[in-house]
Protein backbone atom coordinates (compact mmCIF):
# COMPACT_ATOMS: atom_id res chain seq x y z
CA UNK A 1 0.00 0.00 0.00
CA UNK A 2 1.48 3.36 -1.04
CA UNK A 3 1.01 6.68 0.69
CA UNK A 4 -2.11 8.32 -0.72
CA UNK A 5 -3.85 5.05 -1.51
CA UNK A 6 -6.19 5.29 1.49
CA UNK A 7 -7.60 8.49 0.08
CA UNK A 8 -7.82 7.09 -3.42
CA UNK A 9 -4.79 8.54 -5.19
CA UNK A 10 -2.88 6.44 -7.71
CA UNK A 11 0.90 6.41 -7.96
CA UNK A 12 2.28 8.94 -10.41
CA UNK A 13 5.71 10.25 -11.32
CA UNK A 14 8.58 10.80 -8.93
CA UNK A 15 9.11 14.54 -8.46
CA UNK A 16 12.64 14.24 -9.87
CA UNK A 17 11.29 12.64 -13.05
CA UNK A 18 8.65 15.31 -13.42
CA UNK A 19 11.28 18.02 -12.94
CA UNK A 20 13.50 16.42 -15.58
CA UNK A 21 10.67 16.13 -18.10
CA UNK A 22 9.56 19.70 -17.51
CA UNK A 23 13.10 21.08 -17.81
CA UNK A 24 13.57 19.37 -21.16
CA UNK A 25 10.18 20.57 -22.38
CA UNK A 26 10.91 24.17 -21.34
CA UNK A 27 14.34 24.35 -23.02
CA UNK A 28 13.16 26.25 -26.08
CA UNK A 29 10.92 28.60 -24.14
CA UNK A 30 13.77 29.54 -21.76
CA UNK A 31 16.81 29.85 -24.03
CA UNK A 32 19.06 31.23 -21.26
CA UNK A 33 18.69 28.10 -19.13
CA UNK A 34 21.78 25.93 -18.81
CA UNK A 35 22.44 22.96 -16.54
CA UNK A 36 25.46 22.43 -14.30
CA UNK A 37 25.95 18.91 -13.00
CA UNK A 38 28.22 17.03 -10.66
CA UNK A 39 28.08 13.83 -12.70
CA UNK A 40 24.72 12.66 -11.37
CA UNK A 41 22.54 14.08 -14.14
CA UNK A 42 21.02 10.66 -14.77
CA UNK A 43 19.91 10.59 -11.12
CA UNK A 44 18.76 14.22 -10.79
CA UNK A 45 17.15 13.97 -14.25
CA UNK A 46 18.87 16.97 -15.80
CA UNK A 47 20.27 14.49 -18.32
CA UNK A 48 17.39 14.63 -20.87
CA UNK A 49 17.80 18.42 -21.10
CA UNK A 50 21.58 18.16 -21.43
CA UNK A 51 21.39 15.42 -24.06
CA UNK A 52 18.89 17.38 -26.11
CA UNK A 53 20.87 20.63 -25.72
CA UNK A 54 24.52 19.55 -25.45
CA UNK A 55 25.94 23.07 -25.73
CA UNK A 56 23.83 24.09 -22.73
CA UNK A 57 24.73 21.23 -20.39
CA UNK A 58 27.90 21.41 -18.27
CA UNK A 59 28.97 18.36 -16.30
CA UNK A 60 31.92 19.59 -14.23
CA UNK A 61 32.56 16.24 -12.60
CA UNK A 62 32.38 15.16 -8.99
CA UNK A 63 33.19 18.58 -7.58
CA UNK A 64 30.15 20.17 -5.99
CA UNK A 65 31.96 23.26 -4.72
CA UNK A 66 33.15 24.14 -8.19
CA UNK A 67 29.77 23.17 -9.64
CA UNK A 68 27.86 25.71 -7.56
CA UNK A 69 30.34 28.56 -8.07
CA UNK A 70 30.47 27.87 -11.82
CA UNK A 71 26.69 28.25 -11.77
CA UNK A 72 27.14 31.56 -9.95
CA UNK A 73 29.52 32.70 -12.68
CA UNK A 74 27.11 31.65 -15.41
CA UNK A 75 24.36 33.64 -13.71
CA UNK A 76 26.65 36.66 -13.45
CA UNK A 77 27.14 36.35 -17.21
CA UNK A 78 23.38 36.48 -17.77
CA UNK A 79 22.52 32.78 -18.01
CA UNK A 80 19.91 30.97 -15.90
CA UNK A 81 21.82 28.00 -14.52
CA UNK A 82 20.00 25.01 -13.06
CA UNK A 83 22.53 23.29 -10.84
CA UNK A 84 21.53 19.86 -9.64
CA UNK A 85 22.84 17.13 -7.41
CA UNK A 86 21.62 14.95 -4.59
CA UNK A 87 20.04 17.28 -2.01
CA UNK A 88 22.62 16.31 0.61
CA UNK A 89 25.67 16.90 -1.59
CA UNK A 90 24.30 20.12 -3.05
CA UNK A 91 23.33 21.74 0.24
CA UNK A 92 25.82 20.17 2.62
CA UNK A 93 28.97 19.79 0.52
CA UNK A 94 28.58 23.10 -1.29
CA UNK A 95 26.87 25.16 1.40
CA UNK A 96 29.49 27.91 1.55
CA UNK A 97 29.49 28.11 -2.24
CA UNK A 98 25.70 28.53 -2.16
CA UNK A 99 26.18 31.21 0.49
CA UNK A 100 28.95 33.16 -1.24
CA UNK A 101 28.53 32.41 -4.95
CA UNK A 102 24.71 32.45 -5.05
CA UNK A 103 22.81 33.82 -2.04
CA UNK A 104 24.97 36.75 -0.92
CA UNK A 105 25.30 38.21 -4.43
CA UNK A 106 21.63 37.30 -5.08
CA UNK A 107 22.42 35.58 -8.38
CA UNK A 108 19.73 33.92 -10.46
CA UNK A 109 20.80 30.33 -9.80
CA UNK A 110 18.29 27.49 -9.56
CA UNK A 111 19.40 24.81 -7.11
CA UNK A 112 17.75 21.44 -7.53
CA UNK A 113 18.28 18.73 -4.96
CA UNK A 114 17.09 15.24 -5.78
CA UNK A 115 17.01 12.22 -3.45
CA UNK A 116 15.67 14.33 -0.61
CA UNK A 117 14.35 12.66 2.51
CA UNK A 118 14.68 9.10 3.77
CA UNK A 119 12.48 7.61 1.04
CA UNK A 120 15.55 7.12 -1.17
CA UNK A 121 15.77 3.85 0.74
CA UNK A 122 18.55 1.34 0.36
CA UNK A 123 21.48 3.67 -0.33
CA UNK A 124 21.29 4.78 3.26
CA UNK A 125 21.82 7.89 5.41
CA UNK A 126 24.93 9.24 3.64
CA UNK A 127 22.78 9.83 0.55
CA UNK A 128 19.70 11.19 2.33
CA UNK A 129 19.09 14.93 2.25
CA UNK A 130 17.30 15.62 5.51
CA UNK A 131 19.07 18.84 6.52
CA UNK A 132 18.60 20.56 3.15
CA UNK A 133 15.45 22.61 3.78
CA UNK A 134 16.87 24.05 7.00
CA UNK A 135 20.13 24.97 5.28
CA UNK A 136 18.42 26.50 2.26
CA UNK A 137 15.92 28.44 4.38
CA UNK A 138 18.72 29.92 6.46
CA UNK A 139 20.08 31.83 3.45
CA UNK A 140 18.68 35.35 2.89
CA UNK A 141 16.85 35.75 -0.39
CA UNK A 142 16.69 32.07 -1.28
CA UNK A 143 13.21 30.68 -2.02
CA UNK A 144 12.56 27.07 -1.05
CA UNK A 145 10.01 24.89 -2.86
CA UNK A 146 9.05 21.29 -2.00
CA UNK A 147 6.51 19.87 -4.46
CA UNK A 148 4.21 17.05 -3.40
CA UNK A 149 3.70 15.17 -6.67
CA UNK A 150 4.77 15.00 -10.28
CA UNK A 151 2.24 17.49 -11.54
CA UNK A 152 3.15 20.12 -8.97
CA UNK A 153 6.86 19.43 -9.59
CA UNK A 154 6.34 20.23 -13.26
CA UNK A 155 4.47 23.40 -12.38
CA UNK A 156 7.17 24.28 -9.84
CA UNK A 157 9.87 23.84 -12.48
CA UNK A 158 8.19 26.37 -14.74
CA UNK A 159 7.60 28.75 -11.82
CA UNK A 160 11.26 28.37 -10.84
CA UNK A 161 12.45 29.41 -14.29
CA UNK A 162 10.03 32.34 -14.38
CA UNK A 163 11.15 33.42 -10.90
CA UNK A 164 13.98 35.91 -10.65
CA UNK A 165 16.57 35.11 -8.00
CA UNK A 166 18.03 32.13 -6.19
CA UNK A 167 15.68 29.24 -5.50
CA UNK A 168 15.99 25.74 -4.10
CA UNK A 169 13.72 23.03 -5.56
CA UNK A 170 13.58 19.84 -3.53
CA UNK A 171 12.79 16.61 -5.35
CA UNK A 172 12.44 13.00 -4.29
CA UNK A 173 13.50 9.67 -5.72
CA UNK A 174 10.44 7.38 -5.44
CA UNK A 175 7.20 7.50 -7.34
CA UNK A 176 4.57 9.33 -5.32
CA UNK A 177 0.80 9.58 -5.38
CA UNK A 178 -0.57 11.91 -8.05
CA UNK A 179 -2.61 14.51 -6.19
CA UNK A 180 -3.20 17.11 -8.87
CA UNK A 181 -4.57 14.98 -11.68
CA UNK A 182 -7.35 17.47 -12.21
CA UNK A 183 -4.92 20.38 -12.58
CA UNK A 184 -3.04 22.82 -10.40
CA UNK A 185 -2.81 26.55 -10.01
CA UNK A 186 0.76 26.77 -8.77
CA UNK A 187 2.27 29.97 -7.48
CA UNK A 188 5.50 30.24 -5.46
CA UNK A 189 4.62 31.33 -1.92
CA UNK A 190 0.93 30.47 -2.24
CA UNK A 191 -0.19 27.31 -0.47
CA UNK A 192 -2.97 25.05 -1.73
CA UNK A 193 -5.81 23.82 0.48
CA UNK A 194 -6.50 20.28 -0.72
CA UNK A 195 -9.19 19.45 1.79
CA UNK A 196 -11.36 21.58 4.00
CA UNK A 197 -12.09 20.79 7.64
CA UNK A 198 -13.02 22.39 10.95
CA UNK A 199 -11.24 20.64 13.81
CA UNK A 200 -7.57 20.50 12.91
CA UNK A 201 -5.20 21.68 10.17
CA UNK A 202 -2.51 19.45 8.74
CA UNK A 203 0.18 21.42 6.93
CA UNK A 204 2.58 19.32 4.89
CA UNK A 205 4.86 19.31 1.87
CA UNK A 206 6.57 16.74 -0.31
CA UNK A 207 5.30 13.21 -0.04
CA UNK A 208 3.83 13.96 3.37
CA UNK A 209 0.98 15.83 1.68
CA UNK A 210 -0.44 12.49 0.48
CA UNK A 211 0.11 11.08 3.97
CA UNK A 212 -1.81 14.06 5.39
CA UNK A 213 -4.71 13.39 3.03
CA UNK A 214 -4.73 9.74 4.10
CA UNK A 215 -4.66 10.83 7.74
CA UNK A 216 -7.59 13.19 7.16
CA UNK A 217 -9.48 10.31 5.60
CA UNK A 218 -8.77 8.12 8.65
CA UNK A 219 -9.69 10.93 11.06
CA UNK A 220 -12.99 11.45 9.34
CA UNK A 221 -13.99 7.96 10.48
CA UNK A 222 -13.24 9.03 14.06
CA UNK A 223 -15.48 12.03 13.60
CA UNK A 224 -12.56 14.49 13.32
CA UNK A 225 -12.73 16.99 10.49
CA UNK A 226 -9.22 17.83 9.27
CA UNK A 227 -8.20 20.34 6.63
CA UNK A 228 -5.04 19.70 4.63
CA UNK A 229 -2.77 22.39 3.24
CA UNK A 230 0.00 21.70 0.70
CA UNK A 231 2.66 24.17 1.86
CA UNK A 232 4.87 23.60 -1.18
CA UNK A 233 6.80 26.80 -0.56
CA UNK A 234 8.65 26.93 2.75
CA UNK A 235 10.16 30.31 1.93
CA UNK A 236 8.61 32.76 1.37
CA UNK A 237 5.97 31.17 3.59
CA UNK A 238 2.25 31.67 3.01
CA UNK A 239 1.72 33.28 6.41
CA UNK A 240 -1.79 34.40 5.57
CA UNK A 241 -2.95 30.80 5.11
CA UNK A 242 -1.31 29.74 8.38
CA UNK A 243 -2.87 32.57 10.36
CA UNK A 244 -6.27 31.73 8.88
CA UNK A 245 -5.81 28.06 9.75
CA UNK A 246 -4.80 28.86 13.32
CA UNK A 247 -7.86 31.04 13.74
CA UNK A 248 -10.13 28.42 12.29
CA UNK A 249 -8.90 25.21 13.92
CA UNK A 250 -6.47 26.33 16.66
CA UNK A 251 -4.78 22.95 16.35
CA UNK A 252 -2.08 22.52 13.70
CA UNK A 253 0.01 19.49 12.80
CA UNK A 254 2.98 19.92 10.47
CA UNK A 255 4.34 16.94 8.54
CA UNK A 256 7.56 16.86 6.53
CA UNK A 257 10.20 14.38 5.38
CA UNK A 258 13.03 16.34 7.03
CA UNK A 259 14.78 16.70 10.36
CA UNK A 260 12.73 18.30 13.13
CA UNK A 261 14.86 21.43 13.31
CA UNK A 262 14.76 24.22 10.80
CA UNK A 263 12.28 22.86 8.29
CA UNK A 264 8.62 23.50 7.57
CA UNK A 265 7.61 22.78 11.18
CA UNK A 266 9.92 25.48 12.55
CA UNK A 267 8.79 27.96 9.91
CA UNK A 268 5.09 27.40 10.60
CA UNK A 269 5.65 27.50 14.37
CA UNK A 270 7.23 30.96 14.08
CA UNK A 271 4.08 32.24 12.44
CA UNK A 272 1.71 30.56 14.87
CA UNK A 273 3.76 31.79 17.84
CA UNK A 274 3.28 35.35 16.58
CA UNK A 275 -0.32 35.12 15.48
CA UNK A 276 -1.84 32.54 17.81
CA UNK A 277 -3.98 30.88 18.84
CA UNK A 278 -2.60 27.44 18.38
CA UNK A 279 -1.39 24.20 19.74
CA UNK A 280 0.98 22.36 17.44
CA UNK A 281 2.45 18.93 16.86
CA UNK A 282 5.19 17.91 14.48
CA UNK A 283 5.72 14.88 12.32
CA UNK A 284 9.25 14.64 10.94
CA UNK A 285 12.33 12.45 10.84
CA UNK A 286 13.03 13.87 14.29
CA UNK A 287 16.56 14.42 15.52
CA UNK A 288 18.27 11.35 14.11
CA UNK A 289 19.86 9.86 11.04
CA UNK A 290 18.01 6.98 9.44
CA UNK A 291 19.44 3.77 7.99
CA UNK A 292 19.38 1.61 4.87
CA UNK A 293 16.22 -0.24 3.99
CA UNK A 294 13.22 -0.22 1.70
CA UNK A 295 11.48 3.13 1.43
CA UNK A 296 8.14 2.04 2.86
CA UNK A 297 9.84 0.26 5.76
CA UNK A 298 11.89 3.37 6.52
CA UNK A 299 8.89 5.70 6.41
CA UNK A 300 7.10 3.34 8.79
CA UNK A 301 10.04 2.98 11.17
CA UNK A 302 10.80 6.71 11.31
CA UNK A 303 7.18 7.72 11.76
CA UNK A 304 6.40 9.33 8.44
CA UNK A 305 3.02 7.69 7.87
CA UNK A 306 -0.66 8.62 7.85
CA UNK A 307 -0.96 6.79 11.18
CA UNK A 308 1.80 8.94 12.69
CA UNK A 309 -0.07 12.06 11.58
CA UNK A 310 -3.30 10.73 13.10
CA UNK A 311 -1.38 10.14 16.33
CA UNK A 312 -0.06 13.70 16.24
CA UNK A 313 -3.55 15.05 15.70
CA UNK A 314 -4.78 13.15 18.75
CA UNK A 315 -1.94 14.66 20.79
CA UNK A 316 -3.18 18.21 20.20
CA UNK A 317 -6.90 17.54 20.57
Amino acid sequence: MHIGEISGYKLGQATRDAFGDALKDLAAEFPDVVTVDGDVGNSTRTEPFALANPERGFNVGIAESNMVSVAGGLAAAGKTPVVASFACFLLCNAFDQIRMSVAFPGLNVKLVGSHAGISIGEDGPSQMGIEDVALACSLPGVSVVVPADGISAKAATRAMLEHSGPLYLRCGRPKVAELYGSGIDFEIGKSIKLRDGDDVTIIANGLMVAAALDAAHMLEKEGVSAQVIDMHTVKPLDEEAIVAAAKKTQRIVVAEEHLAHGGLGSAVAMVVARSGPGRMAFVSVGDTYAESGDADGLLEKYGLTPAAIVQAVRSVR
Binding site: S65, N66, V68, S69, A76, A77, K79, P81, M100, P105
Partner: protein
Protein backbone atom coordinates in the same frame (compact mmCIF):
# COMPACT_ATOMS: atom_id res chain seq x y z
CA UNK B 1 55.36 52.18 -19.61
CA UNK B 2 56.38 55.14 -17.43
CA UNK B 3 52.72 56.11 -17.27
CA UNK B 4 51.81 52.69 -15.95
CA UNK B 5 54.53 52.87 -13.33
CA UNK B 6 53.28 56.30 -12.31
CA UNK B 7 49.74 54.93 -12.04
CA UNK B 8 50.99 52.06 -9.89
CA UNK B 9 52.60 54.58 -7.54
CA UNK B 10 49.29 56.45 -7.20
CA UNK B 11 47.38 53.22 -6.53
CA UNK B 12 49.83 52.42 -3.72
CA UNK B 13 49.24 55.81 -2.15
CA UNK B 14 45.48 55.23 -2.28
CA UNK B 15 45.83 51.78 -0.70
CA UNK B 16 47.88 53.05 2.23
CA UNK B 17 45.71 56.13 2.80
CA UNK B 18 42.33 54.40 2.63
CA UNK B 19 43.23 51.53 4.95
CA UNK B 20 44.74 53.83 7.55
CA UNK B 21 41.64 56.01 7.32
CA UNK B 22 39.45 52.91 7.70
CA UNK B 23 41.47 51.76 10.69
CA UNK B 24 41.55 48.20 9.34
CA UNK B 25 42.12 46.25 6.17
CA UNK B 26 44.86 44.47 4.26
CA UNK B 27 47.24 47.02 2.72
CA UNK B 28 50.22 44.66 2.40
CA UNK B 29 48.12 42.02 0.57
CA UNK B 30 46.90 44.77 -1.77
CA UNK B 31 50.32 46.28 -2.46
CA UNK B 32 51.76 43.05 -3.88
CA UNK B 33 49.11 43.00 -6.62
CA UNK B 34 49.44 46.61 -7.79
CA UNK B 35 51.44 46.06 -11.00
CA UNK B 36 49.08 43.39 -12.35
CA UNK B 37 45.93 45.35 -11.52
CA UNK B 38 47.41 48.55 -12.93
CA UNK B 39 48.41 46.86 -16.18
CA UNK B 40 44.98 45.22 -16.55
CA UNK B 41 43.02 48.43 -16.00
CA UNK B 42 45.35 50.99 -17.59
CA UNK B 43 47.61 49.02 -19.93
CA UNK B 44 44.93 48.41 -22.54
CA UNK B 45 44.36 44.79 -21.58
CA UNK B 46 40.85 45.06 -20.12
CA UNK B 47 38.03 46.55 -22.19
CA UNK B 48 35.51 48.28 -19.94
CA UNK B 49 33.35 51.38 -19.71
CA UNK B 50 33.49 53.00 -16.29
CA UNK B 51 30.32 54.97 -17.05
CA UNK B 52 28.55 51.79 -18.18
CA UNK B 53 29.78 49.15 -15.72
CA UNK B 54 27.36 46.47 -16.98
CA UNK B 55 28.33 46.85 -20.65
CA UNK B 56 27.74 43.25 -21.76
CA UNK B 57 30.88 42.88 -23.87
CA UNK B 58 33.24 44.10 -21.15
CA UNK B 59 36.19 42.12 -19.89
CA UNK B 60 35.86 41.09 -16.27
CA UNK B 61 38.29 41.06 -13.35
CA UNK B 62 37.46 38.80 -10.41
CA UNK B 63 39.48 39.39 -7.26
CA UNK B 64 39.28 36.00 -5.59
CA UNK B 65 41.61 37.14 -2.81
CA UNK B 66 38.89 39.55 -1.76
CA UNK B 67 40.75 40.94 1.24
CA UNK B 68 43.05 42.77 -1.22
CA UNK B 69 40.11 44.80 -2.51
CA UNK B 70 41.75 48.19 -1.73
CA UNK B 71 43.90 47.68 -4.85
CA UNK B 72 40.74 47.13 -6.89
CA UNK B 73 38.91 50.11 -5.41
CA UNK B 74 41.98 52.27 -6.08
CA UNK B 75 42.06 51.16 -9.73
CA UNK B 76 38.31 51.63 -10.14
CA UNK B 77 38.47 55.14 -8.71
CA UNK B 78 41.35 56.06 -11.03
CA UNK B 79 39.41 54.54 -13.93
CA UNK B 80 36.38 56.70 -13.12
CA UNK B 81 33.90 54.19 -11.69
CA UNK B 82 33.53 56.55 -8.72
CA UNK B 83 35.32 59.53 -7.28
CA UNK B 84 38.77 59.21 -5.72
CA UNK B 85 37.38 60.90 -2.59
CA UNK B 86 35.09 57.92 -2.03
CA UNK B 87 38.12 55.73 -1.34
CA UNK B 88 38.25 57.23 2.14
CA UNK B 89 34.82 55.76 2.91
CA UNK B 90 36.32 52.25 2.80
CA UNK B 91 34.74 49.90 5.35
CA UNK B 92 32.50 52.62 6.79
CA UNK B 93 28.79 52.12 7.44
CA UNK B 94 26.80 53.07 4.37
CA UNK B 95 29.71 52.90 1.95
CA UNK B 96 29.54 50.39 -0.93
CA UNK B 97 33.29 50.03 -0.54
CA UNK B 98 32.98 47.11 1.85
CA UNK B 99 35.84 45.27 3.51
CA UNK B 100 35.54 42.57 0.86
CA UNK B 101 34.04 42.99 -2.64
CA UNK B 102 30.24 43.06 -2.80
CA UNK B 103 28.90 43.03 -6.36
CA UNK B 104 25.40 43.77 -5.15
CA UNK B 105 26.42 47.15 -3.78
CA UNK B 106 29.10 48.37 -6.14
CA UNK B 107 28.69 48.33 -9.93
CA UNK B 108 31.85 47.16 -11.61
CA UNK B 109 32.61 44.52 -8.99
CA UNK B 110 32.29 41.25 -10.90
CA UNK B 111 32.10 38.83 -7.97
CA UNK B 112 31.38 38.91 -4.27
CA UNK B 113 34.39 37.27 -2.69
CA UNK B 114 36.01 36.90 0.69
CA UNK B 115 35.51 33.20 1.26
CA UNK B 116 38.72 32.07 -0.38
CA UNK B 117 38.77 29.55 -3.19
CA UNK B 118 35.64 30.45 -5.14
CA UNK B 119 36.82 33.13 -7.58
CA UNK B 120 38.29 30.86 -10.23
CA UNK B 121 35.11 28.77 -10.37
CA UNK B 122 33.08 31.96 -10.76
CA UNK B 123 35.49 32.89 -13.54
CA UNK B 124 34.96 29.53 -15.24
CA UNK B 125 31.21 30.12 -15.12
CA UNK B 126 31.51 33.64 -16.52
CA UNK B 127 33.88 32.45 -19.24
CA UNK B 128 31.45 29.67 -20.20
CA UNK B 129 28.49 32.05 -20.20
CA UNK B 130 30.23 34.75 -22.25
CA UNK B 131 31.49 32.19 -24.76
CA UNK B 132 28.05 30.61 -25.07
CA UNK B 133 26.60 34.04 -25.90
CA UNK B 134 29.38 34.74 -28.41
CA UNK B 135 30.75 37.67 -26.42
CA UNK B 136 34.39 38.73 -26.84
CA UNK B 137 34.80 39.11 -23.07
CA UNK B 138 37.96 37.88 -21.38
CA UNK B 139 37.83 36.89 -17.72
CA UNK B 140 40.79 37.63 -15.45
CA UNK B 141 40.88 36.03 -12.00
CA UNK B 142 43.42 36.80 -9.31
CA UNK B 143 44.01 34.39 -6.42
CA UNK B 144 46.51 34.54 -3.62
CA UNK B 145 49.17 31.88 -3.06
CA UNK B 146 47.81 30.92 0.35
CA UNK B 147 44.40 30.63 -1.27
CA UNK B 148 45.73 27.85 -3.51
CA UNK B 149 45.37 25.59 -0.49
CA UNK B 150 41.63 25.58 -1.16
CA UNK B 151 40.71 22.40 -3.04
CA UNK B 152 38.04 24.18 -5.04
CA UNK B 153 40.71 26.09 -6.97
CA UNK B 154 42.01 22.80 -8.33
CA UNK B 155 38.48 21.67 -9.20
CA UNK B 156 38.14 24.90 -11.17
CA UNK B 157 41.51 24.43 -12.90
CA UNK B 158 40.39 20.99 -14.06
CA UNK B 159 37.03 22.21 -15.33
CA UNK B 160 38.59 25.12 -17.24
CA UNK B 161 40.81 22.59 -19.00
CA UNK B 162 37.82 20.41 -19.87
CA UNK B 163 36.14 23.33 -21.65
CA UNK B 164 39.43 24.78 -23.06
CA UNK B 165 38.46 28.24 -21.87
CA UNK B 166 40.80 30.45 -23.85
CA UNK B 167 38.90 33.48 -22.55
CA UNK B 168 40.09 32.82 -18.98
CA UNK B 169 43.32 33.97 -17.36
CA UNK B 170 44.38 33.18 -13.81
CA UNK B 171 46.93 35.31 -12.03
CA UNK B 172 48.35 33.82 -8.84
CA UNK B 173 49.62 36.69 -6.73
CA UNK B 174 52.38 34.73 -5.06
CA UNK B 175 53.40 37.20 -2.37
CA UNK B 176 54.79 34.37 -0.24
CA UNK B 177 53.01 35.24 2.99
CA UNK B 178 49.63 34.42 4.47
CA UNK B 179 47.89 35.22 7.72
CA UNK B 180 50.11 33.40 10.21
CA UNK B 181 53.40 33.35 8.35
CA UNK B 182 55.35 32.32 5.26
CA UNK B 183 53.29 30.33 2.77
CA UNK B 184 55.99 27.68 2.49
CA UNK B 185 55.79 27.09 6.24
CA UNK B 186 52.01 27.01 6.46
CA UNK B 187 51.34 24.70 3.51
CA UNK B 188 54.15 24.36 1.01
CA UNK B 189 52.50 23.96 -2.39
CA UNK B 190 55.83 23.68 -4.22
CA UNK B 191 56.03 24.90 -7.80
CA UNK B 192 52.68 26.39 -8.82
CA UNK B 193 53.74 26.55 -12.48
CA UNK B 194 54.36 22.80 -12.72
CA UNK B 195 51.14 21.98 -10.88
CA UNK B 196 48.95 24.29 -12.98
CA UNK B 197 50.66 23.12 -16.17
CA UNK B 198 49.81 19.56 -15.18
CA UNK B 199 46.14 20.62 -15.31
CA UNK B 200 46.52 21.47 -18.99
CA UNK B 201 46.97 25.22 -18.68
CA UNK B 202 49.47 27.50 -20.41
CA UNK B 203 51.65 28.94 -17.63
CA UNK B 204 54.14 31.77 -17.30
CA UNK B 205 56.13 32.66 -14.20
CA UNK B 206 57.18 36.27 -13.78
CA UNK B 207 58.32 38.89 -11.32
CA UNK B 208 54.91 40.40 -10.74
CA UNK B 209 56.26 43.62 -9.28
CA UNK B 210 58.16 44.39 -12.48
CA UNK B 211 55.80 46.30 -14.76
CA UNK B 212 57.68 45.36 -17.94
CA UNK B 213 57.42 41.67 -17.13
CA UNK B 214 53.74 41.99 -16.21
CA UNK B 215 52.87 43.75 -19.48
CA UNK B 216 54.85 41.24 -21.51
CA UNK B 217 53.17 38.29 -19.75
CA UNK B 218 49.67 39.69 -20.30
CA UNK B 219 50.53 40.19 -24.00
CA UNK B 220 51.74 36.61 -24.26
CA UNK B 221 48.59 35.40 -22.47
CA UNK B 222 46.45 37.22 -25.05
CA UNK B 223 48.14 35.20 -27.75
CA UNK B 224 47.09 31.88 -26.24
CA UNK B 225 43.90 30.91 -28.00
CA UNK B 226 43.53 27.18 -27.43
CA UNK B 227 43.39 26.91 -23.62
CA UNK B 228 43.27 28.79 -20.36
CA UNK B 229 46.38 30.62 -19.32
CA UNK B 230 47.92 31.31 -15.93
CA UNK B 231 50.50 33.77 -14.74
CA UNK B 232 52.35 32.84 -11.57
CA UNK B 233 53.12 36.33 -10.42
CA UNK B 234 55.93 36.23 -7.89
CA UNK B 235 55.56 39.34 -5.80
CA UNK B 236 56.40 40.76 -2.42
CA UNK B 237 53.73 41.44 0.12
CA UNK B 238 53.90 45.15 0.94
CA UNK B 239 55.91 45.93 -2.21
CA UNK B 240 56.58 49.64 -2.49
CA UNK B 241 56.78 50.31 1.22
CA UNK B 242 58.99 47.38 2.27
CA UNK B 243 61.59 49.52 4.08
CA UNK B 244 58.82 50.83 6.32
CA UNK B 245 57.59 47.32 7.12
CA UNK B 246 61.16 46.11 7.69
CA UNK B 247 61.77 48.95 10.11
CA UNK B 248 58.62 47.90 11.96
CA UNK B 249 60.00 44.36 12.09
CA UNK B 250 57.05 42.78 10.27
CA UNK B 251 57.41 42.22 6.52
CA UNK B 252 54.15 40.24 6.44
CA UNK B 253 52.09 42.97 8.12
CA UNK B 254 48.94 40.94 7.47
CA UNK B 255 45.49 42.38 7.89
CA UNK B 256 46.29 45.66 9.59
CA UNK B 257 46.53 49.25 8.49
CA UNK B 258 49.60 51.40 8.79
CA UNK B 259 49.50 53.52 11.95
CA UNK B 260 49.59 57.25 11.10
CA UNK B 261 53.33 57.62 11.65
CA UNK B 262 54.08 54.67 9.37
CA UNK B 263 51.64 56.04 6.82
CA UNK B 264 53.68 59.26 6.69
CA UNK B 265 56.85 57.24 6.09
CA UNK B 266 55.12 55.15 3.44
CA UNK B 267 53.72 58.16 1.62
CA UNK B 268 57.14 59.76 1.68
CA UNK B 269 58.54 56.64 -0.01
CA UNK B 270 55.73 56.70 -2.54
CA UNK B 271 56.03 60.42 -3.23
CA UNK B 272 58.59 60.09 -5.99
Amino acid sequence: MSELKEKARILRQHICRMTTEAGSGHPSSSLSAVEVVTALFFGGFMKYKADEPNWPDRDRFILSKGHAVPVLYAAMAEAGYFGVDELLTLRKLGSPLEGHPNMKRLAGIEASTGSLGQGLSLGVGQALGCRLDGRPSHIYVMTGDGEMGEGQVWEALASADKYKLANLTLIVDQNRYQQTGAAKDVLDMGDFAKKIEAFGWHVQTINGNDMDEVVQALKTAQGVTDRSTAIVSKTQKGFGILPVLEEAGDVNFHGKPLPPAMLEQALALLAK
